[in-house]
């Protein structure tokens, strides 16, 4: 199937148009070798042709600032591994923002591919008094221009009609740079053609227009092509001409001349005299004081909603897991296979999947605030605070997502335009206390504050979240001078879209994609880990007739996992933990969610469908646990030390795997795992040992 690429600026309505063009026939995958999602759908034209429509990441230009924008450039230049050069490109342009959106169109036109311009939000332009002569615009661009309103599917059929054979190719290049740059483009194009590079002319223009593209060794073009472009650029610089500056000026000059000819605004940019509804809301939302009140209130509301609403679907998931477990239990004969499936796979994977409702709820609220337009304001607000620790406000969304689960949070850094900021955010994201820590926090806070009410316990929980967050920001401050990267790229520059009703369709699709991705991960990495953990906790099996054969706690002690627990007891004893806690901690390094279940096995607490009863029984057993000399194991100090350990430790191998994938380096992934483990150990050690001096 031939491919048509869909490109456009952020907030141009590209994704809405994509949904309107493809309907339900969409799929999400990954580009080979990179971590950006590949969103495609099937487009059927009235002429009977079927195309794969590829929704490329939104960008302001083909000189990318972020990893996902690189994909757009590489796909359109035919350099993306695993992706053929598209047959045609549909450029989505916001009709109310022609001057800003046509820049990308000029770059796409220079690729030599057939182009159709979808002039979207035509209703908004009319409302703002902008009159566009569509026929004249099409004449000036030399392309078909189709007015549309994607959110109401108006003009969608006309766009499909415009994609007809022979596909409309742009005529000759419309903009003209200075003579030195033009000469460099001609010279470079002929060198690249001689070197048999496909798309010599578009590559030549792009290499001269984008300094990073020609200087970077990670560029998709060959070293010979880059060297040739460096030579041509040097020729321009000898004549005191910057080719990238010259090209971007020439493009903007031509865009402005086209807009002057084809579009008329009712009056000049209204600025202060014409405050929009969004401006009026921003006067509150971005107010130095009220802005923070709104922000904190919204965040507290979201977290309250997650913790209170998620309980219902979590109970349903729990009931479902129990049903599956009971069904399998009634079907399979007794033996290792049954134990593996029920205790290893169903219980293990189930203990992870149960968090899906909380993760989805948080991502749902994030989707709402993103599509309503508030997220950009939150990033702007947070930028002031985060800049003090070397982070950009753009890190806010990934860090917020990390409260649900670090994995979608880390993946959300793909849209960050600074490699340094992206790496810093990835490194600190796991310290946003994720939902997987909640069962452990519930167990330990309940033990620590047994005589206190729910309000005090909730306040301590809030304090723990605050501790993780502050520590993450402190770590960013420490790491920022040590992480290599450009400072300029981290300067704040962001479009603040108009406030609008949240796009439920986009949010719903995004959630479905995330849910599937989470379940796929649960079915692969976590499944593998659960099988491994089960095997370590089961073998060697106790000999029939021995006490361990009838005592699960003793059997665990004699298993490989138990031996590991005993072996590391000298390491965890200074933190106040015995071998049983050490065993549970080791298991929790694979996935935190298994900590409680492992402690339950060690202390012979039966699993129960009633989570509250199970926690009560486990707390009671832990409170009675003693060292060989009779001292209590779980003192308030031990409990606090364990709480602090869980705040700081990176106990999630799937996160480490994702960090490796997103950073492209085991060095950062392993370094993060080891670093956070060391910090966790030191912090827990300090709490226990210093606390012991005073108790």
């Amino acid at each position: 199937m031939e491919t048509i690429a869909l490109v456009g600026n952020p907030n141009s309505g590209k994704t809405t148009l994509f949904n309107a063009l493809t309907g339900a026939n969409q799929k999400v995958g990954n580009y080979p070798g990179v971590t950006v999602s590949r969103v495609s759908g099937v487009l059927r034209t009235p002429h009977g042709h079927k195309y794969e429509l590829l929704d490329l990441p939104g960008c302001y230009s083909l000189s990318p600032q972020a990893p996902d924008e690189k994909i757009t450039r590489d796909v359109l230049l035919g350099d993306q591994q695993g992706s053929d050069l598209p047959e045609a490109v549909v450029c989505v342009v916001d009709a109310s923002n022609l001057e800003r959106h046509l820049y990308l169109v000029t770059q796409v036109m220079d690729l030599g591919l057939p182009v159709v311009v979808a002039l979207n939000k035509i209703d908004l332009a009319q409302k703002q008094g902008i009159r566009i002569n569509v026929e004249l615009l099409a004449e000036e661009l030399g392309l078909p221009v189709v007015p549309c309103q994607a959110n109401k599917s108006i003009g969608v059929v006309d766009i499909k009609h415009a994609i007809r054979r022979p596909l409309p190719r742009p005529s000759s290049r419309k903009w003209q740079a200075d003579k030195h740059t033009e000469s460099a483009i001609t010279e470079l194009a002929s060198k690249l053609k001689a070197d048999h590079l496909d798309n010599a002319q578009p590559h030549a223009i792009h290499l001269l227009a984008d300094r990073d593209y020609r200087c970077s060794e990670q560029s998709a073009v060959s070293k010979e092509a880059r060297d040739a472009s460096l030579e041509c650029a040097a020729n321009c610089e000898r004549a005191e001409v910057s080719p990238e500056d010259s090209i971007s000026k020439a493009r903007t000059k031509w865009v402005q001349s086209v807009c002057l000819l084809t579009a008329r605004r009712k009056e000049p940019d209204q600025g202060m005299s014409g405050l929009t509804f969004s401006d009026k809301v921003d006067q509150v939302v971005l107010h130095p004081f009220m802005g923070w009140v709104v922000f904190v209130g919204l965040m507290m509301g979201i977290f309250w909603a997650i913790f209170s609403l998620a309980e219902y679907p979590m109970n349903w998931v729990d009931a479902g897991i129990s049903l599956i477990s009971d069904t399998v239990s009634g079907t399979l004969p007794e033996g290792d296979l049954k134990d593996l499936i029920i205790d290893g796979i169903i219980a293990g994977v189930g203990s992870v999947v149960i968090f899906l409702p909380q993760i989805l709820l948080l991502l749902f609220f994030i989707g709402l605030i993103e599509t309503s337009g508030y997220m950009a304001r939150a990033a702007l607000l947070m930028d002031r605070l985060m800049s003090k620790v070397g982070l950009s406000g753009r890190a806010f969304l990934p860090l917020l997502s990390s409260y649900a689960c670090a994995i979608p949070g880390i993946m959300a850094t793909r849209s960050m335009d600074s490699a340094k900021q992206r790496l810093l955010t990835i490194l600190i994201a796991p310290w946003m206390s994720c939902t997987a820590r909640l069962p452990v926090y519930s167990l330990l806070i309940g033990m620590l504050l047994a005589g206190y009410g729910a309000l005090v316990q909730a306040l301590v929980l809030a304090l723990i979240y605050f501790l993780g967050t502050i520590s993450a920001l402190f770590a960013a401050w420490l790491l920022a001078p040590r992480v290599k990267g450009s400072e300029e790229a981290s300067h704040f520059l962001m479009e603040l879209p108009e406030y609008s009703m949240p796009d439920m369709s986009y949010t719903g699709r995004h959630l479905a994609e995330r849910a599937w991705s989470f379940l796929r991960k649960a079915g692969t990495v976590i499944l593998g880990l659960c099988i491994l953990l089960w095997a370590l906790e089961t073998y060697p099996k106790p000999i029939e007739g021995t006490p361990a054969a009838d005592d699960p706690a003793l059997a665990l002690e004699q298993s490989y996992m138990g031996r590991v627990g005993h072996a590391i007891e000298p390491v965890v004893k200074p933190l106040g933990y015995d071998w049983r806690t050490g065993t549970a901690l080791v298991a929790a390094f694979a996935a935190r969610e298994v900590f409680n279940a492992n402690l339950a096995i060690s202390y012979s607490v039966e699993e129960s469908d009633d989570e509250d009863l199970f926690l009560e029984q486990l707390r009671a057993k832990l409170a009675q646990a003693t060292w060989p000399d009779g001292r209590k194991v779980y003192t308030p100090l031990t409990t606090m030390s364990l709480l602090v350990f869980f705040v700081y430790a990176l106990q999630c191998l799937p996160t480490t795997v994702v960090v490796r994938r997103e950073t492209g380096s085991w060095k950062w992934a392993i370094g993060q795992l080891v670093g956070m483990t060391v910090v966790a150990w030191l912090a827990a050690f300090a709490v226990y040992q210093i606390g012991s001096l005073f108790s």
């Binding site: 600032q65 202060m272 702007l380 406000g393 520059l493």
Partner: protein, 89 residues
């Protein structure tokens, strides 16, 4: 010659976007610095009229009806001049 002097006087009257007051109607004269291209691509182009809506560590400007937020450091790379009311009419 008079046109050259007028042009020089105009260039001299340019200030950075960071230094311009909030609420002013401005015309972009020139972009100078390492982020010119990035600024042009998002909409800060030479000869374009914009309005600076708010000041602070990050400024908000109205560019072709769109609100763009940018840091002071980026604002220092945009040279602007005030558009007087007579020119607006």
């Amino acid at each position: 010659m008079i046109a050259d002097i007028a042009s020089d006087l105009k260039a001299d009257s340019a200030m950075t976007l960071s230094k311009a007051s909030a609420g002013c109607q401005l015309r972009i004269r020139q972009l100078e610095g390492g982020e010119c291209q990035r600024l042009r691509e998002i909409g800060f182009c030479e000869e374009l009229e914009i309005c600076k809506l708010s000041d602070g560590r990050n400024m908000i400007c109205s560019v072709c009806g769109t609100r763009l937020a940018l840091s002071k450091k980026l604002g220092d790379q945009v040279l602007v001049e005030e558009v007087h009311e007579a020119e607006l009419v």
